[in-house]
Every structure is written in C-alpha cells, then in structure tokens.
C-alpha cells in the first residue's frame, strides 16, 4: 500500500489482531485445555479472544501480548469454574490457587506479575476491569457480589499495585 503520510512508529503500536491469532492462539488453547479441560476449552478460548478483541484498541502496552491474552484466559477459566461450582467464593479461591500452580512458563511483564500476586478477588476484579474493560456491574455479576464491592476490590488492587510498583 502506498499512503501519503505515514503514521509515526512507536513502541506502543499494536500489530493487527490477526497476528495475535497466528502467534498465540495455540498457546492460549493449550493453556485452557489444561485449566478447564477439553470440553470447555473451546468456548473459553472464544470468550478469551472476543474479550481481547473488544479491549484491544485501548491496550497501552504491546510488549507482552501473550501474557495479556493468558491473563484474560485465566480469568475466563475462573469465571467458568465459578459458574460450574455455583459456589462463588470457594470457586474463586480454588481457581486462584490453581492459577498459582498452573502458571505457564511465560516471561510476562512485571505488571502482569504484580497483578498475578494480588489476592484473588482483587486480581480478578482488576483484570476484568482493566484487561477486559468490563463495567463494575458486570464484574459484580461475575464475582457474585455487589457493584460497590467490585469497585472496592478494584480500587484496593490498584492501591496495592501502586504501592508495590512505587
């Protein structure tokens, strides 16, 4: 293509989303098969990539796209397991501890590492808010709690991240 004036190149440029499928779809699906099993992995995979595509234009950091996708995938897996368990808090804790032992060997960015070290409710809330760009009402539904509590979880998580990264 020949365009008259080229956009300035920056480190934050996002590649076409198609490239994320080429580069990371296999890793995400494998991760989900291990996390939620073969039957549910495909649906979780689609939810993961749809959430990623929705949030993609606002993503600030293109340095670790696989880490970002796996964070969303982990969250989708947690949602699914919570729904399946119909015991929100226990499901959440179980999923969170599963996430800890089931970390893929990724060289994730420091931020994702910090997010991952948050207590499980804060981690889920922060990821849903900022990784998936979901509303507080939506997060509250997913976490079986109130919007106020969801907001509190996000804000507590952010405070903790700020402290840790200050």
């Amino acid at each position: 293509m020949h365009v008259a004036d080229r956009a300035p190149r920056s480190a934050h440029r996002l590649p076409p989303f198609e490239a994320l499928l080429d580069d990371h779809a296999g890793a995400v699906l494998r991760f989900l098969v291990r996390r939620v099993g073969s039957v549910d992995a495909e649906d979780c995979f689609q939810e993961t990539f749809l959430a990623a595509l929705r949030a993609y234009p606002r993503l600030q950091d293109a340095q670790n796209l696989r880490g970002w996708l796996l964070t969303i995938a982990r969250n989708k897996a947690t949602d699914l397991q919570r729904d399946a368990a119909r015991r929100p808090l226990l499901g959440d804790e179980a999923a969170a501890s599963a996430a800890t032992v089931d970390q893929p060997a990724e060289s994730d960015g420091e931020l994702w590492e910090s997010v991952r070290r948050l207590p499980s409710k804060q981690r889920s809330a922060v990821a849903m808010r900022f990784v998936e760009d979901r509303s507080y009402d939506d997060i509250a539904r997913a976490m079986s709690t109130t919007p106020d509590a969801a907001r509190q979880n996000v804000s507590a998580g952010i405070k903790r991240l700020r402290r840790e990264r200050a």
């Binding site: 293509m1 020949h2 440029r13 993609y56």
Partner: protein, 200 residues
Amino acid sequence: MTASNVGTAGVTAARLHTAVDGFRLRARAEGLVDVAYALADSPIGPLLLAGTDAGLVTVAFDGENTGVLDELAARLSPRILRDPARLDPVRRELDAYFEGKLRDFTVPVDWALVGPFGRRVLDLTARIPYGEVSSYSDVARSIGAPRAARAVGNALGANPIPVVVPCHRVVRIGGDLGGYGGGLRRKEFLLSLEGARPRL
C-alpha cells in the same frame, strides 16, 4: 518462547482451527472487526483487499506484504482480521474486471486513508472512463491546480485503492506511461486489458 513451554495438552491443528474459526464467526457477528481483509489472486499477482464497514479501503499488490496490515492497524484500527467472505463482493467485481466483463466498479469505497488533495485527484481519476486515459496535467487542470502536475502524480502514486480507483488511466502527455505504484508492468497490463492506447 516456544509452544512446548505451555505443554501440548492434546491440541491438534484441526482443533485449533475449529476454535479460531468459531472465534472469527462470533467476532464478525458482534461487529468487532473494524478492518477485514482477504487475499485474492489476479493476473497481476496476488492482491490484498481490505475493507471497513464504509467500503473498500485498500487494494495492495503483493498480497503477502504484512506492512500493509501494520499500516492499517496504525492508521485505522488494530482490530483487523482475515475475513474472506466480507471481501467477496470486491473479489467478484475484480474477477469480472480481469475477465473483461466489468467496466465500472460499483463496490463502495472508504476514503479514510486519503487526504483532501488526494481525494480531489482520485475523485476525478475515478471518472476517467474505462479504456480511456488522461494526463497528469489534465488532471491538475481539472482540479483547478494547473501547476500541480507533480503533486497529482504523488497523489496517484499514493492511491490506496488501485485498480478499483483507476489511477492507471493517468499517463504522461506524449504517451509515456509515467509512473505506477504497482510498477509499470502492471500499469501496462491494465491499460491493454482495457484496450486503452495512451495517445494524447
């Protein structure tokens, strides 16, 4: 980072393909694809076609060139997915054109990549009839900028939608073909396909 780091977990290529296809369908159904693209074969080599909701935004020669998609990601939206079905109307018209059965393209065009000057030049160029040619200075005169023949040439060279917006129909006075973003061989092919003889 290799795939083995995350384990193979019994995911076959076919399985992955199914999962990805399911995602593509849902992304399209939810209107999340800002730019859809497809590759198409043509007598002048593979073409990369890209479109938005507004219409055809890019026809690029040498369809494998991912630089085109990077450019679209930066200038329009990074929500770019391959979606051949969405480009089918364009492909059908291009096929008919290359078979000599279509003279005027009717697919809608998205001018998002074209600036105001380029737009004036290309609007006028789009009105040059099939099988005819115009000169750079004619075009410059017609847009009220008689001394801007060179700028007209640059605007034509920057045409993001060649073939469909027929910048190949602008040649030099005296019959010299002038330039072409896709190379002169392609320009020559298109003009002879249309039966145009550049005599001015």
